[in-house]
């Protein structure tokens, strides 16, 4: 575990003057391990919500499911978005840099999970302080937003040499972010619940999981507009 934390530290410092290694991004297997371990760590914390009963109401099964689902959310979204990224990368004539670019994208996921894990104590403190389910959901949305922005910091750093080499990498990066967010939102919707409504039976997926996040949002907006 200590070795993994050192690797996580190396990852966060990648591309900065404080980096210990000249190699900018770690190897694929290490990045995957970081995503699984740190993602599972935050997932377990996320699933420990116990409602009014505090941590006494935490359900180990929900913690286990959420620990599985956070890495699954990131890796499945990554896997689904990769084929189109690969093709568009080739079309733009940037295939030579594909390996470096994919490692940078995967490193961003790893960075996101490391930041999430670092925010886990704050989430637990929030659960201990406020029991309302909606607030717990909003707080988790906030932690994911902070982790995503932090991931962007590393991504921009790792992508800087690529953009310096060919400016088309910038457009490709933007495209990747659009595709990734588009798929990721639906994947997150599909894999609910991550927190678990107190009193509801603990399940891996919700009974009504086969629906569409975008249609739901569009309907809510329409309801507000026509109220």
């Amino acid at each position: 575990m200590r070795g993994l934390i050192i690797h996580a530290d190396d990852l966060l410092r990648a591309g900065t003057p404080s980096a210990r290694h000249s190699e900018v991004t770690p190897r694929f297997s290490l990045l995957l391990t970081l995503i699984v371990v740190f993602g599972a760590g935050y997932g377990a914390a996320m699933g420990s919500y116990g409602g009014d009963a505090g941590f006494g109401g935490a359900r180990p099964l929900q913690m286990f499911y959420s620990a599985l689902k956070v890495p699954l959310l990131l890796l499945a979204t990554f896997g689904l978005s990769l084929p189109s990224y690969f093709v568009i990368n080739s079309l733009l004539g940037l295939r030579e840099d594909l390996g470096v670019a994919v490692r940078a994208l995967l490193a961003t996921q790893a960075c996101l999970t490391v930041v999430l894990c670092a925010l886990a104590p704050l989430t637990l403190t929030w659960y201990a302080s406020y029991q309302a389910y909606e607030e717990a959901t909003l707080f988790n949305a906030l932690t994911f937003a902070v982790a995503s922005v932090s991931g962007q910091v590393l991504l921009r750093r790792l992508y800087r040499p690529l953009i310096a080499r060919d400016v088309r990498h910038r457009a490709l990066l933007r495209l990747w972010l659009i595709i990734y967010a588009f798929v990721g939102i639906q994947m997150g919707w599909l894999l609910r619940p991550f927190i678990g409504i107190p009193g509801a039976p603990t399940r891996f997926l919700r009974e009504d999981t086969w629906s569409n996040a975008y249609v739901f949002i569009a309907n809510r907006i329409w309801e507000v507009l026509t109220r």
Partner: protein
């Protein structure tokens, strides 16, 4: 098959459209190879679209998936069949130096790119198809995916066309500038003061010579305009062809049909899908 895959990969990476290869006068691909790969990738994209029918009653889903796998490649190649003759005729009419095979190779390459992009977005389409019950959303998502594939394919086509025209014009300018052996020897034989030995009987003059003697305006800009118009026509015909060949996704509320009666039109259907989203 690996050879065709390799060809497609070279096409994607832009290796088949390098300037030195384009100087030969066409895109360096095998028509058959890219066509077969296009059909295969189009079928994969079709399967991903047809997966939505699994969310309905499911009994007709395999037939719908099969139908979509056949219809997506058919959509592209039928649209090509409809639009290619007029493109080629106008291309020849304005004096383009692109021959029939060159134009066909260029279009097949662009369609190969479109189908590859479409297949690469297939996992995302299949993912949404499996996790969504909204038919209207799936229609709009597929319209968006086809638009992205179309734009990338059209971008490739116009870029390659520009390079190809440039390469051909460059080659011809070089041929005109450097006196050909035929021209040199003709000039020598016509000059009585020449000290060179009598030349052998002359071969027939090559076409390059004729062009060198009668300067013609370069038709590059007109060719690009024709191809730009063709891209728009291809998109419009493609949209209507898709409407004729529908259903691709399969309305879960309706029984399976290979083809539906042609009523309304594509653009009205897209607007209705957007309206039904709410």
């Amino acid at each position: 098959m690996p050879a065709w895959l390799w060809q497609l990969d070279r096409l994607l990476r832009g290796e088949s459209t390098r300037l030195e290869l384009l100087r030969r006068g066409s895109v360096d691909i095998s028509l058959g190879g890219i066509t077969v790969m296009g059909i295969l990738l189009g079928s994969i994209a079709g399967i991903c679209m047809g997966v939505f029918s699994l969310t309905g009653s499911g009994s007709q889903a395999p037939v719908q998936i099969l139908a979509s796998a056949l219809k997506v490649p058919a959509l592209f190649f039928l649209t090509l069949v409809v639009t290619f003759p007029s493109l080629y005729v106008f291309n020849a009419l304005i004096g383009s130096r692109l021959g029939l095979i060159s134009v066909l190779k260029l279009l097949i390459a662009a369609i190969g790119i479109m189908l590859t992009v479409l297949a690469s977005l297939g996992p995302i389409v299949a993912f949404f198809a499996l996790t969504t019950t909204s038919y209207a959303f799936m229609k709009l998502l597929n319209v968006a995916v086809f638009t992205v594939a179309g734009l990338l394919g059209a971008g490739f086509l116009l870029r390659t066309l520009q390079r190809l025209t440039l390469a051909i014009e460059e080659t011809e300018a070089r041929e005109s500038a450097a006196p050909s052996p035929a021209l040199t020897s003709t000039a020598s034989s016509e000059s009585p003061s020449s000290e060179s030995p009598p030349s052998a009987p002359q071969p027939p003059a090559p076409p390059a010579r004729a062009r060198a003697l009668v300067p013609m305006p370069a038709p590059g800009a007109s060719v690009r305009s024709i191809f730009r118009i063709w891209v728009v026509v291809f998109a419009l015909v493609g949209a209507q062809m898709a409407w004729i060949l529908r259903p691709f996704i399969g309305d879960p509320e309706q029984p399976f049909q290979w083809f539906r009666p042609v009523t309304s039109n594509f653009f009205e259907a897209v607007w209705l899908a957007f309206y039904n989203l709410f």
